[in-house]
């Protein structure tokens, strides 16, 4: 018997309309666990670098984490992967909610979609019964609207539906896949789904998920629940309100937005508004939230309630919102919270990423102001900011007029527009819009996280280590007292010694070796979560979470029957992390792509930054170009990657290519000097 996982994938060839239930190789579970790990392996094995995002050979994989659907709180993540139209790299985005557990109960770990359907279809999975159904009547419908129609016509009120809207159908590069309470939003996965003419996947299952060592597993789960109760009663002092508790940042529950509104940048990630958060604004926004928020909502098997039902006009729930999407439209348009919650309803139905969409619209308005775009490019656009945002959203999701260019996101749109527009696409990493943060002093840990994170999103690599030091040593000592989560005591010392000013402050503190360890620790936790399907909100993201490096190996082992300890889980995670990177290196990612936006910090330190990257690459077992060395690939049982890299000249003769990437480019073209 297979434990925790089902041992089957669903292979769907849309070109031929063929559906197959395929047993998976248990050896791949041992090597990569599940979720992101096995997704990355599929892409390595089946999607060579020549495959373009909108090629029928691009795969779209919905991969549940290995613990999804088990009783462990928060195990509900599906990792959706494809070659991203935005980055042209291996893209992946996680969705919570209820879809993943339904798929597991239906008897599958992954749905692997290939090819392109001739007509718009949706996939209906009910246990052993799987079929492609006509979706022509859903064309143009919103994501939630479609889900409702599907549930009704199947007479399955509890089916979980992941669906695209107009944006996905029209291949908007930042189209999302929406799933009611949750979404896979980043990197344009929805565009690839639309390109494949797959409107939705509906799923309902009634099968068992088995646990290898039940008593032990439940002991850890119950312990975690008790800890969650304790942690909710004892919020962390001295940090901003949204970071005090567990879960994703508690944007739906908390009204105090001083930190975001005054520290994040408004418009096209430009304007810091010190003093914005007045008593009047605070009252107005609190009132908006209290009026429009109907209920706080959790994902499958999680008590954290990070989401909320939002009521626009008469419906009790017009859509469901979570996290920072609360403020992205508001701040992008220099408007208020009510506008933000209202336009987000439309945006969610159309299915767009709530980071990239408002930023792209703000970017367009900046170009208009700068005269790079003109009134002629925007015929009929209203004069007020709010009206303009609605107008632009509509043009983008329909790919009409200027919307057709903007639909490719700021990076590609700027290149298409030219005339200096590139300067305005200033907030990207790896061609993708980032959180609108513009700060003063370089933070070495964040420098590395922004640069080397391959999820291209800071929240998917940062986590357990506080974002800033607490003002006094006493507070820091207090914090580390019950900090059992750290790999070892050095981490506590690094934090205790970290000062706001002076010798032990950023950018030269933490020391480079400590910085590498801290960044690596935080990233490792995220990669574990992405394989288990545990929500980052109970593990890799918040301070002092219920799950951490000391209990996760026990949890995974008791659930799956694999025998993992901290060392072997760390080793496995390194393997997965390097395999994700290998996919991207093979697609042309280089050291040069690993940079935060130039204006992210006012004060930059090029020499220090180079050293940080050099040392971190070394720490990771990568050469100076960021390529895993042959040695470390062999150590990780990735000799097939090493072989491929040798053939492609990404690695040569087991030797590191020259540090200078221009030289290495030249040498890979055969002009060795």
């Amino acid at each position: 018997m297979r434990y925790a996982e089902t041992g089957f994938n669903l292979e769907v060839d849309l070109t031929r309309g063929n559906i197959e239930r395929v047993p998976t190789d248990p050896r791949l579970t041992e090597l990569h666990l599940g979720g992101l790990g096995t997704n990355a392996r599929l892409f390595w094995d089946r999607v060579p670098p020549e495959v373009q995002p909108f090629s029928p050979d691009n795969l779209l994989v919905f991969g549940t984490g290995i613990l999804v659907g088990t009783p462990a709180p928060g195990t509900n993540r599906t990792i959706v992967s494809c070659i991203s139209p935005q980055t042209r790299l291996f893209g992946f985005s996680m969705m919570g909610g209820f879809w993943g557990p339904e798929l597991k109960h239906a008897g599958y770990d992954k749905v692997i979609i290939r090819g392109k359907s001739p007509e718009l279809v949706y996939l209906w999975i009910k246990d052993d019964k799987v079929e492609l159904r006509d979706a022509s009547h859903l064309r143009g419908l919103g994501t939630l609207e479609s889900a409702e129609v599907i549930r009704q016509e199947l007479d399955e009120p509890h089916a979980a539906v992941a669906s695209i809207g107009l944006a996905g159908e029209n291949r908007v590069f930042f189209a999302s896949i929406e799933q009611g309470r949750s979404s896979a939003s980043r990197l344009g996965l929805g565009a690839v789904m639309g390109d494949k003419k797959l409107k939705a996947i509906a799923v309902r299952g009634s099968g068992d998920i088995n646990i290898a060592r039940p008593a032990e597993y439940m002991e850890i789960c119950n312990e975690a629940l008790r800890y969650i109760v304790h942690r909710e009663k004892n919020p962390i002092e001295g940090v901003m309100p949204i970071l005090r508790g567990l879960g994703s940042p508690q944007e739906m529950a908390i009204h105090d937005e001083k930190w975001h509104t005054e520290n994040f940048a408004w418009g096209n990630a430009r304007v810091r508004r010190k003093g914005f958060w007045t008593k009047e604004i605070s009252e107005q926004w609190t009132n908006t939230m209290e009026t429009m928020r109907t209920r706080l909502l959790s994902c499958h098997n999680c008590p954290m309630k990070c989401g909320a039902a939002i009521s626009v006009d008469t419906r009790l729930c017009s859509y469901m919102m979570k996290c920072f999407s609360k403020l992205t439209y508001t701040m992008g348009a220099f408007s208020d919270l009510e506008f933000g919650l209202r336009i987000a309803q439309k945006a969610t139905e159309h299915g767009v990423d709530a980071f990239s969409a408002p930023q792209t619209m703000a970017f367009a308005l900046e170009l208009l102001e700068a005269g790079i775009l003109t009134e002629q490019d925007m015929p009929g656009m209203p004069l007020d900011n709010e009206g303009r945002f609605y107008w632009l959203l509509d043009r983008i999701v329909r790919r009409e007029g200027i919307g057709d260019i903007l639909a490719d996101g700021t990076y590609w749109a700027a290149r298409a527009i030219g005339k200096g527009a590139e300067e305005y696409a200033h907030n990207n990493i790896k061609k993708t819009e980032q959180l609108p943060l513009k700060l003063g002093m370089l933070n070495p840990m964040y420098y590395l996280m922004y640069s080397t994170g391959e999820k291209v999103n800071i929240t998917q690599i940062e986590g357990n280590f506080p974002q800033a030091p607490f003002p006094t040593r006493e507070e820091r000592e207090e914090f580390v007292k019950d900090w059992v989560h750290v790999p070892d005591d050095r981490f506590k010392k690094w934090f205790v010694d970290w000062e706001l000013r002076g010798k032990n402050s950023i950018p030269h503190y933490p020391p480079i070796d400590a910085t590498c360890e801290i960044v690596n620790w935080q990233e490792k936790l995220h990669y574990i979560d992405d394989c288990t399907g545990m929500c980052a909100g109970l593990s890799s993201f918040p301070y002092k979470p219920p799950f951490h490096i000391h209990n996760l190996p026990r949890l995974i082992s008791a659930g799956t029957g694999l025998d993992l300890d901290e060392d072997s889980l760390t080793h496995l995670t390194r393997r997965n992390r390097d395999l994700v990177r290998a996919n991207n290196l093979r697609r042309g990612m280089t050291r040069k792509d690993e940079e935060p936006p130039a204006d992210h910090w006012k004060r930059r330190f090029p020499e220090l930054e180079t050293r940080l990257k050099d040392e971190y690459y070394k720490f990771k077992g990568w050469n100076n170009d960021g390529v895993p060395t042959r040695e470390s690939l062999l150590e990780l049982d990735l000799e097939f990657v090493a072989k491929d890299f040798m053939e492609r000249g990404i690695l040569r003769d087991g030797q590191d290519p020259p540090a200078d990437s221009e030289a290495s480019k030249a040498s890979s073209e055969g002009s060795e000097s």
Binding site: G69, T70, P71, P73, F98, H105, L144, E148, P157, H158, G180, R181, G205, S206, G207, D208, I209, N210, I211, P214, A215, Y217, M218, L225, I228, V229, T294, R295, L296, L297, S298, C299, H300, N301, C302, P303, K305, A309, R315, L316, C317, S318, M320
Partner: protein, 178 residues
């Protein structure tokens, strides 16, 4: 004749307003009742089901009650506070008209047993796992009238009384019950 007696009433209070839709109750109920205990999870086997209709803001935990061989003659449809509930929404029966509260493979009816187990639990599992406090547990002692004994026993006693007379029979019973 009836006589007052104490009896423990087990009550699960359901506050649907506090439900966040997480299904933890379904998950833990199905795990708890798996054999061996906790060896598998499957909400389809749970004795509590959360009726969810997110876009109507409907979240109602419903417990499995009695099995019924035949479905109701008619149907109820409730509207409460502007929310329209589906037919049969609040019904606890394992009924031929629908597939809830039945084992998915055998179709055998499921019924909440208040997590009866040895040793007994402080609180049912679904309550323990509902951190939102949508489900809370309480025990209440109630003066419960003893049920009037009917059927076989009545008939037997009547036969004895006819034979020996009521007085003799009562004397014998009070001797024996000391």
């Amino acid at each position: 004749m009836t006589r007052a007696k104490k009896k423990v009433i087990k009550i699960i209070n359901i506050n649907a307003d506090k439900c966040n839709g997480c299904r933890a109750c379904e998950i833990i109920c199905s795990s708890f009742h798996a054999t061996p205990r906790y060896s598998s999870t499957n909400p389809a086997r749970s004795r509590i089901r959360v009726i969810r209709d997110p876009l109507a803001d409907i979240y109602i935990p419903v417990y499995a009650g009695e099995y019924t061989a035949a479905e109701c003659a008619g149907r109820d449809k409730y509207t409460i506070g502007g929310k329209e509930y589906d037919e049969c929404a609040f019904c606890r029966a394992s009924c031929p008209s629908r597939d809830v509260f039945k084992e998915p493979d055998s179709g055998l009816p499921l019924k909440c047993d208040m997590c009866e187990s040895d040793p007994s639990l402080d609180e049912p599992m679904c309550v323990q796992w509902c951190l939102a406090d949508a489900l809370t547990y309480e025990e209440r002692e109630e003066e419960a009238p003893e049920e009037r004994i009917v059927g076989e026993l009545d008939a037997g006693l009547e036969a004895l009384a006819n034979k020996h007379g009521w007085q003799q029979l009562m004397d014998a019973m009070s001797r024996m019950s000391k």
